[in-house]
Symmetry: C2
Subunit: 187 residues, 2 copies
């Protein structure tokens, strides 16, 4: 009947994701995506509808790639220690050679405008809430905390994690590990 696609959609999304991760959403143009993904604009729009579609697929891929870490957290039964391991694992995950790229989700949350991109913002918030839920779950394991304390500590940890996404672009690895260490000192 017809011709076959000359590219693998997962492969080109992998490349798109890396570009978004480095540059952010708005400052990654469709022309840049075209070059990086190695396919024509027409093919991009045929496969993913629009730029937003490419990004949403990138987030999905990001999710499956980071799953190795979240799975470890989800399966851990050692409370706060598990969360701390997650922080360290994440730092490793976000490394590209010598530099850290932060979290694709956090980077984008901080960049885009909620009113202008409600669909993207919703996807990003869903992602964040999942992480927070895992923190709550692990905090409960130590069971010496009240419900309110757990919620407050989960917010505290989210704040530290969000901060780490920015810090990782400013501080060096030693400093980052030291920040994580202090963050968990009194939990």
């Amino acid at each position: 009947m017809a011709r076959k696609k000359q590219y693998n959609e997962t492969e080109v999304i992998e490349k798109a994701m890396r570009l978004f991760w480095r540059n952010g959403y708005e400052s990654t143009s469709v022309r840049m995506l075209e070059k990086e993904m190695g396919i024509n604009q027409f093919s991009i729009y045929a496969s993913f509808k629009n730029k937003e579609g490419v990004f949403l697929e990138s987030i999905k891929l990001y999710n499956t790639q980071i799953k190795a870490i979240t799975d470890t957290l989800e399966k851990s039964n050692n409370g706060v220690v598990g969360i701390k391991d997650y922080f360290l694992d994440f730092l490793d995950f976000s490394r590209e050679g010598a530099i850290f790229k932060g979290c694709l989700v956090t980077n984008t949350v901080n960049e885009i405008n909620e009113d202008a991109n409600p669909v993207i913002m919703a996807a990003l918030k869903r992602f964040s809430l999942n992480i927070r839920a895992l923190f709550v779950r692990n905090l409960k394991q130590d069971d010496q905390r009240g419900v309110e304390e757990i919620e407050a500590q989960a917010d505290y940890l989210m704040n530290a994690l969000l901060g780490l996404s920015i810090s990782s672009k400013v501080f060096n690895e030693e400093q980052l590990k030291s920040i994580i260490k202090i963050t968990f000192l009194h939990l």
Copy 2:
């Protein structure tokens, strides 16, 4: 000789700053600035050279406005307590009605590309280092910490402050105050 300017440069920068604060640097267009500042593009370029110039003036104004808070920190002689007060003061400072806008500097650091905007990035880094230096100064006041511990704690506090800039757009006031409380629990 000639006509007088029909606008006050400080007044229009105040309006520009608010716009940058809400929207970020890149997504604030010169047309938007034109509307918000209430003057023509020609006047903008005549007074401030270019968009970058408008932003640099906005940062200057931001600096003088936040000075009330940093001054309090600078004059405080109560160590960690002074820093905590700074966190709370900053939260208040970044409020606009019911919502929090985060820190103009942090927002922009996270948004712009260093290579594309080296001048702006330099100004932003200068600002951040000033804050960190104040943290170090105050941590020394308690004098029971070693130099290394002070540096590490200053990084930890910067991380929390950076996080707060993002968190303030996601969490409510009660949560934010709780985050600050926990951040300082063991210092």
